[in-house]
Symmetry: C2
Amino acid sequence: MALIVQKYGGTSVGSIECIEAVAKKISEFRDKGDDVVVVVSAMSGETNRLTALAMEMMEQPTPREMDVLLSTGEQVTIALLCMALEKRGYGARSFTGGQVRILTDEAHTKARIREIDGSRIQAQLEQGEVVVVAGFQGVDESGDITTLGRGGSDITAVALAASLKAEECQIYTDVKGVYTTDPRVVEDAKLLKSITFEEMLELASLGTKVLQIRSVEFAGKYKVPLRVLSTFEEGAGTLISLEEDTDMEDPAIAGIAFERDEAKLTVAGVPDVPGIAYNVIGPVSEAGIEVDVIVQNAAADGSNDITFTVKRSESDKTKVILDKLASSLKAKGVVLDKKVCKVSLVGVGMRSHAGIASRMFKALADENINIQIITTSEIKISVVIEEKYLELAVRALHSTFDLGDPDYEKDLES
Amino acid sequence: MALIVQKYGGTSVGSIECIEAVAKKISEFRDKGDDVVVVVSAMSGETNRLTALAMEMMEQPTPREMDVLLSTGEQVTIALLCMALEKRGYGARSFTGGQVRILTDEAHTKARIREIDGSRIQAQLEQGEVVVVAGFQGVDESGDITTLGRGGSDITAVALAASLKAEECQIYTDVKGVYTTDPRVVEDAKLLKSITFEEMLELASLGTKVLQIRSVEFAGKYKVPLRVLSTFEEGAGTLISLEEDTDMEDPAIAGIAFERDEAKLTVAGVPDVPGIAYNVIGPVSEAGIEVDVIVQNAAADGSNDITFTVKRSESDKTKVILDKLASSLKAKGVVLDKKVCKVSLVGVGMRSHAGIASRMFKALADENINIQIITTSEIKISVVIEEKYLELAVRALHSTFDLGDPDYEKDLES
């Protein structure tokens, strides 16, 4: 018997039938004797419908009123889910963000949680009821409704789990969990049983879009074990926790992330003087463009190439900025390459396993893939390569590091 | 400069365009220097949509969760109306029932208001903002969301007007106000400038469906001047207040109400003994059937006919009940007449004007209309007649008591 916080997203509660399926799932945990606190999003499509109404009214809707409007989406879901539970004979009680008193700052549409009063929830749990909380929303000191922005429902779930000291925070989605890499690219990609927060952060930010990075950070900070699993399929999903897998067979690599739509910009032949990197990157950042990989390599002749990547969609805008800067930077030229991608090996095991980088480079060389940029951190190695090699590179690395699902071929044989 | 509470119903806020028209109307009051508190309903259709969702989930939705669900309807409207006001450059602030703290009892789906904390509204008004409050909803002591049932938004408006000591509570609808009778029956029916609460109660309960009777009672109790007027057309509408019109020309009759779909039941020849009326009417009421006019007239031979009317749709059910009772009541028979209607003269002036009843009866006799039942109260006289005479009777009385709009014919001439 444990206290579990579960979060179901918009697709999981997208229709009356889906909500009934969610109620069934919850009832199975109750039958096992678990206490369950459920966090739900708005039914899929609802937030878009409400946003469209607001946009029809004014181009830049008042943020305070936008929050009043959008928060109704989750409120509809909590009521319907409680009804579904009651219909199955399980006591249930809904709470809006304000009613649980999820206290946030006053930053409408992107508020941050300050404090949660768990006492009301605790009281209902003690009465044997399922507690259903509207995700994504809270109230500020003055009682105004706030919303938490993108991924807000995940944040609500993690914050509740932390505040209630739940055994686990389960995030139900439309995927079975976190894979070693994208199964659309590598057929035998393996579902990971567990992964550390650090690894998940690297995988999430690098393209495995399962969880919002903010909620992973938040869970890591408050040491809330997170589990990602599917609403629609059976399975234990992937546990994201503080501890490294202590299995003797622990692989060095957790997974392979990649980013498709990258573009590479090189400012060639700038003088090798202090502040030059800032002079190049500063104006780009100030224009609101997110810079990803940055490398600088001084040549023996005292000149310098600075290379970095941005999202492909922002590369033309970036080029314009750099072209304007070129003469004042005394650069020899600015080169834009739109046909690149990034592939990264991620794993906390790297810390203790030598030779990961050289095995990676060899695997790519064996496939005749030229590496344009290399960057490394404690738990990841990223390379930028020509875009057309993306799938080939990911498959080669997946196989080299033996990440494949051993059951996959068995399934094919049988 | 006055404090005015305005209420706009579902049709008045049924689309973005309608909400913008409402914002324009409010801005005109602000421009005159009035403080305005606005109460709104859910956009038309929204409450039905939400109810359908709940009914799809379960036949008898949990009342607590039904309230959580339905209250989102008004919450959407308050946000959109505030945006519309902000767009026009008027400061505005929305409040849910819970935020204003409209405290109710715990009777979910039909809660009654206990108390309103006007301080938060007052503070916003002092900052020059329009305050927009979600109608139809409140919270109970424990912070649970409640709704007020049918006509709830009118009640919210009246309660706020009473609590804030507003000069007037304006109910905007899709009619121009209260007429002497239904303009669909009498072409030159006159829009009443003013009417007393008592008269309005009689007119409302007798078929002029402009205001929910509960909100008129409530306004009368707290002495809040109510004004009914149109959202879509210009005009001062009808003021409903405590005071009788002191005009010298004050007519005895305010208006003529009627009820079409009535049925008459007669239990004939029951003994004239104490308790007999209760023995007849009791079982009907207990079956949830609303009994309207009741008359009993003992004959000289000691026997007795008890006659009453019910809604036509419930008349067959009523007949079945009475037939079963007949022998134990020692009745000679039960007669059902489905083809009757009720016409009523209403006016506080009756108290001081003699001869109203006889003028009424003469007008009907002149048209050869037979009166089946007569009942009277302080401010009304009702007759039950054959249904086919309804229009003829209403027109004859309207003309006899000179209720017509003198401008109507002028309009035709010009």
